[in-house]
């Protein structure tokens, strides 16, 4: 059955391993072979072959002893290299942290390990998670398995490409302004960014603290539900972590809606379509694919409601003030004094700082540090940072008004399919503008997910975004799962992956 192993998702693999149809070692060995063969994708920054086989045989041994293990026991995953790990290097895609060894594991990493997952390695990402194409990694770009001349999206581009190329059933990612949803969309897979506070940020290299959230990227809503259940939950080491009982998102995903039946599982679900999410600038084939997907939701029982998020466009300047402001402060610790890169020679302290940071950071990171420093400066703070905070609250209020008319919101993840590598090199602002549909939910702290919904230009995947109210991950997963039971977009894989 080795030929099909890499086509199996996390849930399916977990079941097969539990039934002892296949061993975890067999799965891991098979995938390690694929990872090695697909090194050209640039998805992995570190492959932990020996450790992974060791973890897999441990799970197999426990299974052989008759231990009852969870649904993810023995299932291979890998972590976006923004999560620090005690046993593998942690670079955040930056030269600044090349060779850095963390003395501890991120909470998300530790929880997934406790669930019995097997860690195959660390995945490439944009430097400090800043970017939407994975072209900002100090260790080279990641290519889209659907078309290697295109980007996989970012910043969780390595995670998305690895899952899409069937190197892994699932991976972790982080989303600050769309960094799970957009690469999921560009790479034809499923990803969910939960409500801010659902996953602990302990051990995530910080980009913008008030926005950063961890989440899974996988083949299906069901896989995402299993991963999210394992990686989420209150953590006293993160003061912004939501204090609530552990959640079984898989059970929430399966729970039938009241009044629903097998042919109309989404009966009564009101899906809001914000006018502002369907502008003229939206690529025609994206619009076409989304409309078709929304028709499917209607057939499943949902009703589509016209709603408005009037400050959608403003979310771009608001985000590109708040996120760089926080980043400029979060990245101050990379100063060459305690860890990470330090310039080889320097005249004095100021020169050491300047050279260390000039050498250690890439262009996009420097750009955001400068923007962030500027908007926090004396005399500009009120006009930029404070104003952005006010608008951020208004954007969150706009969502609450929408949720009086609908249960969840649907729209595009990105205005286009994945673009070609290098296409936006000269114009960083163009890339910022393409974040327009993912930023509002990030600023409001709402959960959002991306599910494969069709194909567009060049046969590239198109994702549909679903946005729920706070802590409505279960409802999002339920709707996505119903859609995926009725469609097969999420099962399609790029030619290169077969």
């Amino acid at each position: 059955m080795t030929g099909e192993l890499h086509e199996m998702g996390a849930a399916a693999l977990g079941r097969a391993i539990a039934a002892r149809d296949v061993s975890s070692v067999e799965v891991v060995t098979h995938l390690l072979g694929r990872i090695d063969a697909q090194r050209g994708l640039g998805a992995f920054l570190h492959v932990a072959s020996d450790a992974a086989v060791g973890q897999a045989s441990e799970v197999d041994a426990r299974r052989a002893k008759g231990e009852i293990l969870g649904p993810l026991a023995g299932v291979p995953i890998a972590h976006k290299d923004i999560f620090v790990t005690a046993d593998m290097p942690s670079t955040a895609g930056s030269k600044m942290l090349a060779g850095y060894a963390s003395p501890f594991d991120a909470t998300v990493v530790a929880r997934l390990a406790a669930a019995g997952t097997v860690t195959l390695g660390k995945l490439n990402c944009d430097e400090f998670a800043m970017g939407s194409a994975n072209e900002n990694s100090a260790f080279g770009p990641v290519r889209n398995p659907w078309d290697p001349s295109r980007v996989p999206g970012g910043s969780s581009g390595g995670s998305a490409a690895a899952v899409a190329a069937r190197l892994l059933p699932a991976a972790t990612g982080t989303d600050t302004g769309g960094s799970i949803r957009q690469p999921a969309s560009f790479s034809g897979i499923t990803g969910i960014k939960p409500t801010y506070g659902v996953c602990s940020r302990w051990g995530m290299v910080a980009f913008a603290s008030s926005l950063d959230q961890a989440g899974p990227l996988a083949r299906s809503a069901e896989d995402c539900a299993l991963l999210l259940s394992a990686m989420s939950g209150f953590d006293e080491r993160d003061s912004t972590s939501a204090e609530r009982a552990p959640q079984d998102f898989h059970a929430q995903m399966l729970a039938p809606r009241e009044g629903a039946n097998a042919s109309r599982p989404l009966q009564g679900l009101r899906i809001g379509l914000p006018r502002e999410f369907f502008p003229a600038a939206l690529a025609v084939e994206v619009n076409t694919a989304l409309r078709a997907a929304l028709g499917e939701f209607e057939r499943l029982g949902a009703t589509l409601v016209d709603v408005s998020l009037p400050r959608t466009e403003l979310s771009i300047p608001v985000y590109y003030i708040i996120a760089p402001a926080e980043a400029s402060s979060n990245l101050a610790r990379f100063d060459g004094v305690k860890f990470g890169h330090r310039a080889a020679s320097f005249a004095d302290l100021a020169d050491m700082y300047a050279k260390t940071r000039a050498e250690g950071f890439g262009a996009e990171v420097k750009r955001r540090i400068m923007i962030g420093t500027y908007v926090l400066s004396h005399g500009y703070y009120d006009a930029y940072y404070l104003q952005a905070q006010k608008l951020r609250r208004m954007i969150a209020d706009d969502f609450q008004q929408c949720f009086e008319q609908c249960d969840m919101i649907a729209g595009p993840v990105a205005p286009s399919v994945a673009w070609k590598l290098g296409a936006q090199d000269k114009d960083p602002v163009a890339a910022y503008l393409a974040d327009i549909f993912t930023l509002p939910a990030s600023l409001a702290g709402l959960p959002g997910m991306s599910i494969p919904a069709g194909f567009g230009e060049g046969g590239m995947p198109v994702g549909l975004q679903l946005i729920g109210n706070y802590f409505a991950e279960g409802a999002l997963l339920h709707a996505a799962h119903a859609f995926q039971q009725a469609t097969d977009f999420h099962l399609r894989s790029p030619e290169a992956a077969r």
Binding site: V205, S239, R333, L349
Partner: protein, 482 residues
């Protein structure tokens, strides 16, 4: 009310900022120990080192100490206060920012009563806020390089800021002493100034009476009351000299050099950094419920000010004595126990400020370690009051008790033969002998010289080996000589 004393025609204006290190076992945002004196970097955990992926978690113990302080100075304890980031680069600041409360501090307003000489004064507080300390840069022993010790990084501080209410270095010192007493009293700070647990910055300016505030200069890091006084006095003269020379004062931060006794500018306002303060997104607003405040209020001890007022009111002590008796909980406990034993509050205060303090200082002991226990001192004072021993004799008893590590007062008096001579027959004999042996003094006294009389009393005391009751001796002498 009379105006403040002027110096060369100028009024001095002082405001103080005090950093009190809070006495929590662990740091303000991490679980690392705050103990002083460990080997460099052995008490800095991942959070203190600002390793990637670490996050701060508020130490509730630090908040409780801030609440306790706020209640003690009658301030408003903010139901919600905000932690901000103060951004600047320095090698001993691991995150590249200090977490501190900026716009909305936890303690708002409040005041402290001080006594300067016989005058009472209220110093108003602007605020007190929570923040973390930085590490230390070690410039010695690294062959031209700088060592960084992050043990102190993340130590909780309460920065207590006054209004510009003080008008002399003496007032500033009294305020600082009063604040020191209070924070130690409350148990929120160990008050150890050598170790930097309590350090002050003084904002000093001068002006002509009635004129607007002058430009201030801030003297940093004053870690002794004596240095504070010297530094302010020097700074005031320096500022007046400049103004008298027709120059103006530039806002600046200055350091006091105890060796030269001078203040010297460290950086001017032009060098002021832009700290780019903004609310720390890693820490939600600090929410303090009314119940929390109440719980801490219930557990608070009687405050030194209230206690001193009680000693004045109930025991009839002068203000100065009352303040001295309330200088620390241990001192006050001792005073109250000794007073209960003899019912002589003023005598107990005199002895505590005199003989007892002298001996404690000489031995470098705290009052808790006094070999003469409160009950013994009380018993001794009772024996003075009932005339059994003279003051002189009592001092000898005290010495014996001290050096022997305690004992029964009456037994010591008896064994030492220190009982005062209250038998008028024996005393009369001595008086008669002294008159006979000192005809010259007698003659002078009769000629109206009081000094001669004192000499005679001295002779009687000497002849009695200090056992005579001096009052009784004078009376007898006078009677015999008239």
């Amino acid at each position: 009310m009379s105006g403040p004393a002027l110096i060369r025609g100028y009024e001095v204006v002082i405001g103080l900022e005090t950093h009190a290190q809070l006495s929590t076992a662990s740091k303000i945002f991490s679980g690392a120990s705050t103990a002083f004196g460990a080997a460099p970097n052995t008490q800095a955990c991942a959070v203190d080192l600002a390793l990637p992926g670490t996050l701060p978690v508020m130490n509730r113990g630090a908040v409780e100490r801030a609440i306790c302080f706020g209640l003690a100075v009658g301030a408003k304890v903010a139901p919600q206060s905000i932690f901000a980031r103060k951004n600047y680069f320095y090698p001993d600041l691991p995150k590249g920012y200090q977490i501190s409360q900026y716009e909305t501090p936890v303690v708002q307003g409040g005041s402290l009563e001080i006594v300067v000489g016989t005058a009472r004064k209220t110093v108003h507080l602007t605020r007190a806020h929570l923040e973390e300390d930085a590490g230390k840069s070690l410039h010695e022993d690294y062959h031209g390089q700088t060592g960084i010790d992050l043990n102190r990084a993340g130590t909780p501080l309460l920065e207590i800021v006054t209004e510009p209410d003080m008008r002399s270095s003496a007032e500033a010192v009294e305020y600082a002493k009063g604040l020191h007493t209070l924070v130690v009293w409350l148990g929120i700070c160990d008050g150890n100034m050598q170790e930097g647990s309590f350090r002050c910055d003084a904002n000093v300016s001068v002006r002509r009476p009635g004129a607007p505030f002058g430009t201030r200069r801030e003297i940093k890091n004053l870690n002794s009351f004596r240095f504070m006084q010297q530094a302010i006095d020097f700074e005031v003269q320096w500022q007046i000299d400049r103004l008298e020379d027709g120059l103006k004062i530039d806002q600046a931060t200055v350091l006091f050099d105890p060796d030269s006794g001078e203040t010297r500018a460290m950086r001017s306002k032009e060098d002021a950094q832009d700290y780019r303060y903004f609310p720390d997104p890693d820490l939600p607003p600090l929410v303090i419920s009314a119940e929390w405040i109440e719980r801490i209020g219930r557990a608070m001890p009687e405050l030194p000010g209230a206690m001193a007022a009680r000693f004045e009111r109930n025991d009839g002590l002068p203000a100065y004595d009352a303040t001295m008796m309330a200088q620390s909980p241990a001192f006050a406990r001792y005073y109250e126990a000794a007073r209960e034993a003899c019912k002589q509050p003023k005598l107990v205060a005199n002895w505590l400020m005199g003989e007892v303090s002298k001996r404690l200082n000489a031995d470098g002991r705290t009052i808790d370690a006094s070999p003469v226990k409160p009950a013994m001192l009380g018993a001794l004072i009772s024996r003075i009051a009932d005339g059994t021993v003279s003051n002189n004799g009592a001092r000898q008893v005290f010495e014996l008790l001290w050096s022997r590590g305690g004992g029964d007062v009456d037994a010591v008096i008896e064994a030492g033969g220190l009982k005062q001579m209250n038998d008028s027959g024996a005393l009369e004999t001595i008086v008669a002998e002294v008159i006979a042996a000192n005809p010259k003094s007698v003659e002078e006294y009769r000629a109206g010289k009081d000094k001669a009389f004192n000499a005679l009393v001295g002779q009687v005391m000497k002849a009695s080996k200090g056992k005579a009751n001096p009052a009784q001796a004078s009376e007898l002498l006078k009677r015999k000589l008239t």
